[in-house]
Symmetry: C2
Subunit: 375 residues, 2 copies
């Protein structure tokens, strides 16, 4: 079994192009992880996900612990075998969805008690149980249990929340069984307070993790503050460990975060948007449900090599959406995931060539142009 490692192959300013190796395969960074919430990337086969260029996928501990259950997945050979994804899998801790989806949450020092949104059954998620669940899932990269600090929060609220997360992080580290090829990532919190972010990073690095995530951003603070907090946090994080900005995000946010030293991302945006008829292109998002596409024989994006852009017209994609055809979700999800992976490859190439600043400028310029004119 190959051990877990992360090497930086090129730098451009604060940005890094790296390579992570795990016991389940490696992936280049900057990396975008498609979200496979319930053990499936929605509307995609694993072969399709791999064909878009993704080297690692994310799955949600909250969903899997409730259905089919972590021990059930373990009996069936672990999550990777269960979902037929041969590469590495990162699982979140479940904490975020407990706060956003579950009912009757009671948070205390020990953990969080909640009721399932599926059947109302009571569950307790503690740092130790979060680690145990992810072990049962056989996750390649395990995330610590944390509390995603609400926004806005006073400094006192953000401090108390962050310090609870740091105590939980220490308990997660103690509960985690190190295995070659597997990794445990800590999560920095601290709200929008730079001093608290610094305190959080100090606490995490003191405990020691294989990688470091930045949590509690993209919660409504706006792009400027998100970029500032990201830059302040990455500046303090260890150089030689991967950095993961959780739940981000829009393509422009990813470009800016990469420029500020982030290596890994996940977001439901490409998959969810695909199911809603929205496609990402170099020239911003395109809503294919719009009637302007009904007669358009042109491909969605003539620079894209995905099946949706190679085989079909905008008119056909529009028709599929109007007719509620599952194929619309399949094709647009594929396109969006491919587009995100193309973005990551371009960012990596720009870093390796030392031209990231020019790439950033060109990216935002193109995106601002908007879609090609109607025929």
């Amino acid at each position: 079994m190959t051990g877990f490692s992360f090497t930086i192959e090129a730098r451009d300013g604060a940005a890094r192009a790296g390579r992570a190796r795990t016991g389940h395969g490696g992936f280049a960074t900057p990396a975008f992880m498609p979200v496979g919430t319930a053990g499936a990337v929605k509307a995609m086969t694993p072969d399709g996900v791999a064909a878009t260029g993704a080297g690692i996928v994310l799955a949600n501990t909250y969903h899997l612990m409730l259905r089919p259950g972590a021990e059930q997945v373990a009996r069936l050979g672990g999550l990777r075998r269960f979902m037929a994804w041969p590469g590495p899998v990162l699982t979140d801790s479940g904490g975020y969805q407990v706060m956003s989806l579950a009912k009757l949450r009671v948070l205390g020092e020990d953990g969080v008690e909640f009721q399932s949104h599926l059947d109302g059954a009571r569950h307790m998620l503690t740092p130790e149980r979060a680690i145990e669940i992810q072990h049962a899932l056989d996750s390649t990269i395990t995330m610590v249990l944390d509390e995603c600090t609400a926004f806005p929060a006073t400094e006192a609220e953000a401090a108390a929340s962050m310090r609870l997360s740091m105590r939980w992080a220490a308990r997660c580290k103690a509960a985690f069984a190190p295995r070659p090829g597997y990794a445990l990532f800590g999560i920095a919190q601290g709200g929008m307070y730079a001093d608290l972010r610094a305190e959080s990073v100090a606490a995490l690095t003191e405990i020691g993790f294989d990688g470091y995530a930045i949590g509690g951003l993209a919660v409504g603070e706006g792009p400027e503050l998100m970029r500032d907090m990201t830059a302040r946090t990455t500046a303090l994080l260890p150089e030689v460990a991967p950095r993961y900005l959780m739940g981000v995000g829009r393509p422009g946010d990813i470009v800016e975060a990469v420029a500020r030293g982030v290596d890994m991302f996940d977001c439901v945006l490409p998959t969810r948007s695909g199911r809603n008829g929205q496609a990402f292109t170099r020239r911003g998002t395109v809503n294919l449900r719009n009637a302007r596409h009904a007669d358009d024989p042109r491909p969605l994006d003539d620079a894209c090599a995905c099946p949706a852009c190679r085989g079909y017209s905008r008119a056909y994609l529009h028709h599929l959406i109007k007719a509620n055809e599952i194929l619309a979700s399949m094709l647009l999800t594929w396109h969006n995931l491919r587009w995100y992976q193309d973005l990551m490859r371009e960012l990596r190439a720009a870093i390796c060539d030392g031209r990231l600043a020019a790439y950033q400028a060109r990216f935002h310029e193109m995106e601002a142009q908007g879609d090609i004119a109607a025929l």
Copy 2:
């Protein structure tokens, strides 16, 4: 452009193994046509459909005339280009769905006036318009407009309905523009009255078509009567033209119809069932929504080479269904279409080897066994 032709390569009793050639590619018979109602086989890409072994697909004139509209499809290069299916396409005439889906139908000698089930707009479908629409769609095989006789019907009702369909068939033949590689099929009606079926076949062969469909069966008459009417009709049809039993059906019905001389089939059953968690196997249907599969690490069908059976456990398929994942529809539709195509290949091989009777007996014996025992 290759002309339309049909050759019989082997016979076994009344059954035939043949090959159809069209301007858009050929297909072996007995053939099952997956249904692509609105210009897409639900939950499948065209590549996937082809990979199951299908050589021809069916699309519904009724749906396409209402959305996006036949002339719209024509402007976009015809249906095959629109849906990126390079092979032949058969379209029905729209008549069946007008009677089953549309509102406020008024049937007369000239045709049928109806309101769209989508937006209430009034439309008129005549034999000439049905042909014109299918021409605009660039259908490889065009079906005549007919009235699917209700069941039950008195002999007088069935006769009047059949004779109207025969007058419409003659008008369709007159309206159809023969082109090399394209074909026009007539449809025999006559309810459950053998004399009327004979009269219908005589009328159709007098007009002369490239192929002959058997309509008005699988409407509630039961398997015995369906088989009897099928056998009586095929016995009268020209030997050298393909015979198409419309809307059939269940695997066992297909086996019996092939034995009675039918060459072509279509049915929504494999695709619709796939979206409902039901899978076809040699040992009958399997409802993967059933809790008995929740812990089952075995493949759906260990003899099947489709992606659903190669990569996943029954437990995972069950999980996907419970979690309402689109991937459940994708995998089970693929399996079912592959299973239907495997059935057609086996029937063809049995005919070529002169062992169809043994195959029939073995088929029904296996199907009666039911699914493998729970673990």
